[in-house]
C-alpha cells in the first residue's frame, strides 16, 4: 500500500489547471494530510503546457519526487511531458470523448471518463476538471466529501447554486469510476487525520510576514514570479491602514517604497530578474541615505528575460554586489515557506535596526509551491518588532548639534544613527545619495567621506556581532561529509537524507538562510572530508563564497535546467559527488 500519492493535472494554460489543483490540495489538507505542490507553467496566458502537481502523505514532505501515480490529462502533451515520472501502476484519467486520441502506454491504467458530458449533466462543461477530481478521489479511495469545503471556498462567491453543481460534478466523476472500473489493484487508501493544516505558498508567507511585521506601504510592478506578493497584500494591507501602489515601473516602485520608508512606514517592494536590475539604480541611494526598507527578489531564470517561469538561484551575486560603488546591505534568503514568513519579519527588523536596505532573496520554486503546515508554524504571538534608534519629540534633543540641527547621520560607535521621521519636532533634515556629513549635507571633504563610509560599514560589523547569523542543520552532525545549501533547496535536501540513509550514506546538511552577513563555516568545512554545495545556478555563486570564506575547495551540485531539485535526484547526485574527485579549478 502506497503511503504517498503523487497526483497531477495537466493541460493548456487557461484550462483552469491551477485552481483545480488548488482545490484538490486544499481537500487533502482538510483531511489532515501533508501536501506539497509544484507547478509547471509556461510564460503565456492561454495555451502551452501547464501542470499542477501534488504530492501528499500523512508524513511531513518537503519536496517533489520523480513519480506520478495519478494523472489527469487534458491533453496528450500532459502524458508525453510526464512519461518519465509515470510508472506501471500509474492511472491516467482522460476524456475519451474529446477529439484527441489518448496514447497511453499499455502498462498504465487508462481511466476514460467522459469529463465534459458528466460536467454538462451537473450543470455546465466548465466543471469538467471537478469531475476529474471526483474521479481521482475514486481511484485514490479518498472521500469525495473532503472536496466540498474547498469547492465552497473556491466558488462560494459565485452563489450556492454554483457550489452545489460543483459538488455534484465531483460525485458524478467518483460514481463513474466506481461503476466502470475495478481499481482496487491500485491500492490507494488515503489515510486521514484530525490535524488542522494551513496550505500556503512562499509568496503568501512573505506577504503575511510583511503584514505581521508592520509593513504598511508596498509599491511594486507586476512581474513573474513576484506578483503574487503584491496580489496577496492588495485587499489585506488596507485592513491595517496600509496601501499597495501598482507603480508604472520598477524604478518608480522602489522610489515609492523609499519615500514611504523615509516617511516612517515600514515599506517594501518585490520584484524579480529584470526588475531588480532597474531597481539597482535607486538601491545605492537607499543605502547611502540609510533608509530602512525591504527589497524582495523572487529569483527566476536569467539573465535578461531568461526563462521567466522557471526556477533558478542566479541572483545571489546581484544581491551581494549589485549597484555602483560600495554599499552595505543585508542579504537574507529564506530556506522554506515558514522561513519566508519569519525571515520577512526579520528583514524589516534588520532594516530598521541598522537603517540599511535588506534584500530578501527567495526563488520561484518556493514562491509557487503550496505546502501544508500547522497554523502554529506562523505563531503571531512570537512576532517581535524592533524599530531601532527611532527618536521622538522627547528623545531627539541629545542628537541636535549646538545650532539645534538634527544629526541624522551622526557618527556613532555602533555605526547606527538616530532616525527622525517627518513630524518629529526639530528633526527636519535632508537625506541624499551624495556623500554627506553628519547633518546630511553634501561634502567631498576626505575625512568626512572616510568617516561616513566607515560608519555605514560599521553597522554591518555591529550586526555581525549582535545578531545570530545562524544556520539550520539536518542529518548527522557527526557525519564525515558535509552538504551546504541555501534557499529553497533545503526541502529536497532534507528528504534526500532519507534516501541516502537507505543506502547507508551518512551526511551532515547545513542550510544557510543568511547570505550577508553569513555564518562562518570555516570550522564545519575543515572538519568535513567532502564538502558539497548545492544550488540552482550554473556557476556556483554560493560555493564561491564558501571557498572564499574557508579557503577550501568544495564540490558543487548545480542545476540550471529551470527545474528545482528533486529529493531522489539529489540523493543520487550527492552519492556521485562523494565518489568524485574535487575538480581542479
Amino acid at each position: 500500500m502506497a503511503e504517498d500519492l503523487n497526483w497531477a493535472i495537466g493541460g493548456e494554460a487557461g484550462d483552469g489547471i491551477d485552481s483545480t489543483g488548488k482545490i484538490f490540495a486544499q481537500a487533502l489538507s482538510r483531511a489532515g494530510r501533508h501536501v506539497y505542490t509544484s507547478k509547471d507553467f509556461a510564460s503565456r496566458i492561454r495555451g502551452g503546457y501547464t501542470a499542477y502537481k501534488i504530492r501528499t502523505s500523512v508524513d511531513d514532505i518537503q519536496s517533489v519526487v520523480d513519480r506520478l501515480d495519478v494523472l489527469v490529462a487534458l491533453t496528450q502533451r500532459t502524458i508525453d511531458e510526464n512519461l518519465d515520472e509515470l510508472h506501471e501502476g500509474s492511472a491516467i484519467i482522460y476524456d475519451g470523448e474529446r477529439s484527441w486520441e489518448a496514447e497511453i502506454p499499455d502498462e498504465m491504467t487508462a481511466v476514460d471518463v467522459p469529463l465534459k458530458s458528466l460536467a454538462e449533466d451537473a450543470g455546465g462543461a466548465i466543471m469538467r476538471n471537478v469531475v476529474a477530481l471526483g474521479a481521482a478521489c475514486a481511484i485514490a479511495n479518498f472521500d469525495v466529501e473532503y472536496l466540498d469545503e474547498a469547492l465552497e471556498k473556491r466558488f462560494g462567491g459565485k452563489g450556492s447554486k454554483i457550489v452545489e453543481n460543483n459538488k455534484k460534478a465531483a460525485r458524478l466523476g467518483e460514481e463513474y469510476v466506481e461503476e466502470n472500473y475495478d481499481l482496487d489493484h491500485l491500492g490507494y487508501d488515503l489515510e486521514t487525520t484530525d490535524n488542522d493544516y494551513v496550505l500556503l505558498n512562499g509568496n503568501e508567507a512573505i506577504g503575511m510576514g510583511a503584514l505581521a511585521a508592520g509593513c504598511r506601504f508596498y509599491a511594486g510592478y507586476p512581474i513573474t514570479p513576484a506578483t503574487t506578493i503584491m496580489e496577496y497584500l492588495t485587499g489585506r494591507i488596507e485592513e491595517y491602514g496600509g496601501h499597495v501602489v501598482q507603480a508604472e515601473d520598477e524604478l518608480s516602485a522602489i522610489n515609492m517604497a523609499l519615500g514611504g520608508a523615509r516617511a516612517g512606514a515600514r515599506s517594501m517592494t518585490a520584484t524579480s530578474g529584470a526588475g531588480i536590475d532597474l531597481m539597482t539604480e535607486t538601491f545605492g541611494l537607499v543605502a547611502t541615505s540609510e533608509t530602512p526598507m525591504v527589497i524582495c527578489d523572487v529569483q527566476r531564470s536569467g539573465p535578461s528575460t531568461g526563462m521567466p517561469t522557471k526556477q533558478e538561484q542566479g541572483d545571489l551575486n546581484m544581491a551581494l554586489y549589485g549597484g555602483h560603488g560600495e554599499v552595505p546591505r543585508f542579504v537574507v534568503a529564506p530556506t522554506s515557506i515558514t522561513e519566508c514568513f519569519w525571515k520577512t519579519i526579520e528583514a524589516f527588523n534588520l532594516a530598521e535596526k541598522y537603517q540599511t536596505p535588506v534584500f530578501l532573496v527567495s526563488d520561484l520554486a518556493m514562491s509557487v509551491t503550496e505546502q501544508t503546515f500547522p497554523p502554529e508554524a506562523f505563531d503571531m504571538d512570537a512576532v517581535e518588532i524592533d524599530r531601532g534608534k527611532l527618536v521622538d519629540d522627547d528623545t531627539i534633543d541629545e542628537w541636535l548639534d549646538e545650532q539645534g540641527r538634527f544629526r541624522a547621520h551622526a557618527v556613532t560607535d555602533d555605526g547606527v544613527s538616530p532616525r527622525a521621521i517627518p513630524g518629529t519636532t526639530d528633526g527636519a533634515h535632508m537625506s541624499t545619495g551624495l556623500e554627506h556629513d553628519e547633518l546630511g549635507r553634501r561634502t567631498e571633504a576626505q575625512d568626512e567621506r572616510v568617516r561616513q563610509v566607515d560608519k555605514r560599514y560599521r553597522k554591518v560589523e555591529t550586526a555581525q556581532e549582535r545578531e545570530d547569523w545562524e544556520y539550520r542543520e539536518f542529518g548527522n552532525p557527526d557525519a564525515d561529509d558535509l552538504v551546504i545549501s541555501w534557499g529553497s533547496n533545503e526541502g529536497a535536501l532534507v528528504e534526500a537524507l532519507g534516501y541516502l540513509e537507505e543506502e547507508g550514506t551518512d551526511i551532515r546538511v547545513i542550510s544557510v538562510p543568511y547570505i550577508f552577513p553569513r555564518p562562518d563555516l570555516t570550522d564545519e568545512v575543515e572538519a568535513a572530508d567532502d564538502v558539497i554545495v548545492v544550488e540552482c545556478n550554473a556557476t556556483g555563486q554560493f560555493a564561491d563564497l564558501i571557498e572564499h570564506d574557508t579557503l577550501t575547495r568544495v564540490k558543487r551540485i548545480n542545476k540550471y535546467t529551470g527545474v528545482r531539485f528533486k529529493a531522489d535526484e539529489l540523493a543520487e547526485e550527492i552519492t556521485d559527488q562523494l565518489a568524485a574527485e574535487v575538480p581542479a579549478k
Binding site: 506601504f217 523615509r262 541624499t432
Partner: protein, 287 residues
C-alpha cells in the same frame, strides 16, 4: 504646527552654489514663502528633489527632504504622501529631470493625482552638465550636443499634463516673485497634484529664454480674465505655442486626491509592538 513660522525657517544655512542671477533663487524663495503662507513648518514638510541644478534645492531649504536620483523624485513624493497623508509634500525638479528621464513618472503622478505640489524649474537647457539641449529647448536652439538645434519640437509639459488628466496646471516666472509665490500657494492648497512649470532662466547657458524674453512675452492669465475651471479655455491656452503664459491654466474644483480615493487616512508609521491583534486570522485564511 506653529503659527509664527517665517519663510526663512525653510532656509538652510547652506549657501546656494547656483550661478549669480539664476532663476532658481527666485523659484526657491517663492516656494519657501508659499509653504510658510499656507501654514506649514519645516517639521511637517517633506521636500523631494531630483538631480541637476534644481535638485540642489533640498540642500538650500530646511525641511524633511530627500535628494533622490535623476528623474525619480515624483515616485518618492508619492511614497511619502501615501505613508503620511498628514505631511505636506513638495517635489521640485528641472525640465530634464521631469520631462526627459522622469517623463514616465510625470505622466503617472499626474494621473494618480497624489496630493502634492510639483514645481519644475524649467530653464530649457541642461545647466549642471554645462549646456546641452533639454526636452523643452527650442528646435533650433544650438548647444554643444545639438550644434544645429535639436530639430525636434520641445515637449509641452502643460499639454502633457492636460493629456494625462491633470487636476491642476499652472505656469509661473521666477522673476515675478509675487505671482510665482501666489501660484505655488494655489498648487499647495489644491486637493491633488498641483503642477507648476516655472520659467527659471539659466543665465549661463541659455541666451534665448532670458529674463528679458519672458518679461517681454509673458501674458498673465489672471489679468487676461482666464477662468481656470474652464477646460476648453485651458486647452486653448495650453496648446497656444505662440505666447508664454503665467497663471493657473486649469484647476479641477472637484479633484479628489489619490489617498482619499483609496481611503488612506492613517499615519502608516505607527505600527504595533508585535503582530497585529487579530493576525492569526491571516493564517487561518489558509485553511
Amino acid at each position: 504646527m506653529s503659527s509664527d513660522v517665517r519663510f526663512t525657517d525653510f532656509k538652510s544655512d547652506k549657501q546656494p552654489t547656483w550661478c549669480p542671477g539664476c532663476g532658481d533663487f527666485g523659484t526657491m524663495n517663492g516656494m519657501m514663502k508659499a509653504l510658510a503662507e499656507t501654514g506649514n513648518d519645516p517639521d511637517n514638510t517633506f521636500v523631494v528633489a531630483g538631480i541637476g541644478c534644481s535638485g540642489k534645492i533640498g540642500t538650500y531649504m530646511h525641511s524633511y527632504a530627500l535628494h533622490g536620483v535623476h528623474g525619480r523624485a515624483l515616485p518618492v513624493g508619492t511614497g511619502v504622501k501615501m505613508a503620511r497623508p498628514d505631511i505636506e509634500v513638495m517635489v521640485a525638479g528641472g525640465d530634464g529631470d521631469g520631462y526627459s528621464i522622469g517623463a514616465g513618472h510625470f505622466v503617472h503622478a499626474v494621473r494618480r493625482n497624489v496630493d502634492m505640489s510639483y514645481i519644475v524649474m524649467d530653464n530649457r537647457i541642461y545647466g549642471l552638465t554645462k549646456g546641452q539641449a533639454s526636452p523643452t529647448s527650442r528646435s533650433d536652439f544650438e548647444t554643444s550636443t545639438t550644434p544645429e538645434g535639436p530639430k525636434q519640437p520641445p515637449v509641452n509639459p502643460l499639454a502633457l499634463a492636460l493629456a494625462s488628466g491633470a487636476s491642476f496646471i499652472a505656469q509661473s516666472f521666477a522673476s515675478d516673485a509675487l505671482r510665482h509665490q501666489e501660484i505655488v500657494q494655489q498648487a499647495i492648497e489644491h486637493d491633488g497634484f498641483g503642477f507648476v512649470n516655472v520659467f527659471s532662466p539659466c543665465v549661463t547657458f541659455n541666451d534665448v529664454d532670458t529674463y528679458d524674453y519672458f518679461r517681454d512675452n509673458l501674458v498673465d492669465l489672471e489679468e487676461a480674465g482666464h477662468d481656470p475651471s474652464d477646460y476648453e479655455a485651458a486647452k486653448e491656452v495650453i496648446l497656444d505655442s505662440d505666447k508664454e503664459y503665467q497663471g493657473v491654466m486649469y484647476q479641477d474644483e472637484n479633484s479628489v486626491p489619490y489617498h482619499e480615493q483609496h481611503g488612506v487616512t492613517e499615519d502608516m508609521s505607527e505600527i504595533p509592538d508585535g503582530a497585529p491583534e487579530d493576525a492569526m486570522d491571516l493564517v487561518r485564511e489558509f485553511y
